[in-house]
């Protein structure tokens, strides 16, 4: 793993953006997340790794209350963003999701034009007062998602006509267009080829300037490449959470070691 240049990577601990304490998630009788405590820093890429079914996606979906849409899911414990409990009764999940954007595993653009895909979030949140402002937001979001050059001449064409990698970047543009503070990414590259993956990873690194990014990934190489902090989940437990360099070079838990060296998973 020399090429990952883990040692060079400087981790400056920013202030905490998200803090989770004693989080339990149940799907009916199934105890999917067991007592997870984690502090996620601002302006940092945090990777969740672990074998399939270990609960990393489930935990990610707790952070913007997407689990609310699953009727059998039950979340206990305390999750705070900027010190505010997101499961407080006064919190409207819709407002929360505007603050905590999400990119999904499979690119899922709306069957509308590229422009409308990006403009939808700002429109429903009233971020633009007129067409010119909306145009500007769309352009900024597409530029941030590194899609502007490819898409600027075909903004009115359907988003579903783009290639897989472009679609995923469109989804990232759609997520950043609402000016979130946290960006959750659930295996954003699993449906992409290596070239598109590299583009998206580069993008994630740039997004770190403005957002707290949390990424779930199956690929340990990807976690090592893009993240500063890594959390290893196994069977619903958060086994180890540390700087990415430490996790990959000097893990303290034998299960982490087994997983990153390929013995379990």
């Amino acid at each position: 793993m020399d090429d990952l240049r883990l040692i060079e990577r400087a981790v400056d601990m920013n202030e905490t953006k998200i803090s989770a304490n004693g989080v339990q998630v149940y799907y009916g009788d199934n105890h999917a997340i067991k007592d997870v405590n984690v502090e996620i820093a601002d302006k940092t890429v945090t990777a969740f790794i672990g074998p399939s079914g270990c609960g990393k996606s489930t935990f990610l979906r707790c952070l913007n209350r997407m689990n609310d849409t699953i009727s059998v899911a039950r979340v206990e414990g305390d999750i705070r963003i900027d010190g505010e409990d997101i499961y407080d009764k006064r919190v409207d999940p819709v407002q929360l999701r505007a603050k905590v954007g999400m990119v999904f595993q499979k690119p899922n653009p709306f069957p509308k034009s590229i422009y409308d895909n990006v403009a939808y979030g700002p429109k429903i949140h009233g971020l633009a007062r007129n067409k010119a402002e909306l145009d500007e937001i769309v352009e900024r979001a597409l530029r941030r998602a590194a899609l502007w050059n490819e898409a600027k001449d075909r903004l009115q064409e359907p988003g579903t006509g783009l290639s897989g990698g472009q679609q995923q970047r469109l989804c990232i543009a759609r997520a950043v267009a609402t000016e979130p503070e946290v960006l959750l990414m659930d295996e954003p590259c699993s449906a992409l080829d290596p070239i598109a993956t590299a583009q998206v990873e580069e993008l994630i690194d740039e997004l770190r300037q403005s957002y707290s990014v949390v990424i779930v990934t199956h690929s340990m190489q990807q976690a090592a490449r893009v993240s500063q902090m890594t959390a290893f989940f196994h069977l619903g437990n958060l086994v180890e959470y540390d700087e990415t360099g430490t996790i990959f070079t000097n893990p303290s838990d034998p299960r982490t070691e087994s997983y990153i060296s390929g013995r379990i998973g």
């Binding site: 997407m66 849409t69 819709v94 999701r97 709306f110 069957p111 939808y120 759609r174």
Partner: protein, 451 residues
Amino acid sequence: MTDTTPLDAAPAGKPTKSILVEDERTRARNRAEARFRAYGIAAIAIAATFLVILLATIVVRGVPAFTQTYMTLDVTLEANALDPNGTGDRDEIAKVTTFGYQPLIGQALVSLLEEQRIETPLPPPALILMLSQSAPAVLRDAVLDDPSLIGQTVTFELLTSSRADGYFKGRVTRESLARDRNLGPPHLDILDQLAESGHVERRFNLDFITGSDASESRPESAGIGVSMIGSFFMMLVVLFLSLPIGVAASIYLEEFAPQNRFTDFIEVNISNLAAVPSIVFGILGLAIFIQVMHLPQSAPLVGGLVLTLMTLPTIIISTRASLKSVPPSIREAALGVGASKMQTVFHHVLPLAMPGILTGTIIGLAQALGETAPLLLIGMVGFIASNYPAGVAEGFLDPNSAMPAQIYEWAKRADPAYYERAWGGIIVLLVFLMSMNLLAILLRRRFERRW
């Protein structure tokens, strides 16, 4: 490459199977497949044959209803018969009933026969039987419409009686008329000669499509038009009630409702309702809408309400199916950018489900359009002699029939001329149903989007 090469190339000692020779299992499999294909083709051929026979029968028997035999007759509207005092006053003229016009027609027929040098043993009152009983009324309406016609000789196109018409359509023969009180072979002799001279002619009859039902004794002037209007008003009621109610119920059940016993119970009942025989809805409508709510009998409003009850389960089931078919990733995407549940449904899910919803609705409407049984119970069948409704309110509230009920009514009547009209009505109904299905296909194409 020759056939033997792979065999030769096989390593010696270890037996290898050539893929160039079919083994026994493969042959059996291929035979089974060939048999299955043959069954499928046979099934399609049988179904297609039945369809062709059905359509051909309908066309062959129904098309004659669209033509009718007319007689061109110059009638002298004698002033001393119609307006003896010469007042020119409409009320005075209206005192002369249709009965008073019959001699004029008889006179006109006699002079036509004289002019054509046709000899007949029949007296004028018997000659009139060649014409429809509606003929005097046609004359009277024309005179009341324009009293200045009195005293003139006017050319009328009068319907011939259904027997005479049937003779030209091959439905009535000289033998079958032997026992007929009204028309006999001497009439047919006259008709043959008048047909030759062009005074009797069979041509397209628009009144069949636009007209109202007629009494038992004059099938030649019966039309499906008024019941078509009844059907139209019923469809309006069904569309404006069942589409919003059905779609709102489906969206709530599919997207918002919690999964519990109560919603399960509702779901099961909706499926059951879809299988309830339509006559049950008819008796329900009779009990609730007419006996309890005292809505008018035989009114398209009531018919529409009953058919709405019948159509709702169909629309709800098809709407829910098309909502289900919208991929969940679209919902997640919308929720992920902070759309509310309702925004998600109305901005993203509903537009994608629209083709399915529209198709389901139109199929439901088409079913309702062809429904007869519930209409029997609320009195939307029977003889509706009235002409066109005077306005929209009358359209909803006045007694009317519906196309399938009218067809049923005609098929019940004794005169074979009505039997022919029943087949003709079926053609009109089928044209409506086919155009609705065509509309469903077009809308589907128009709204379909990929994701």
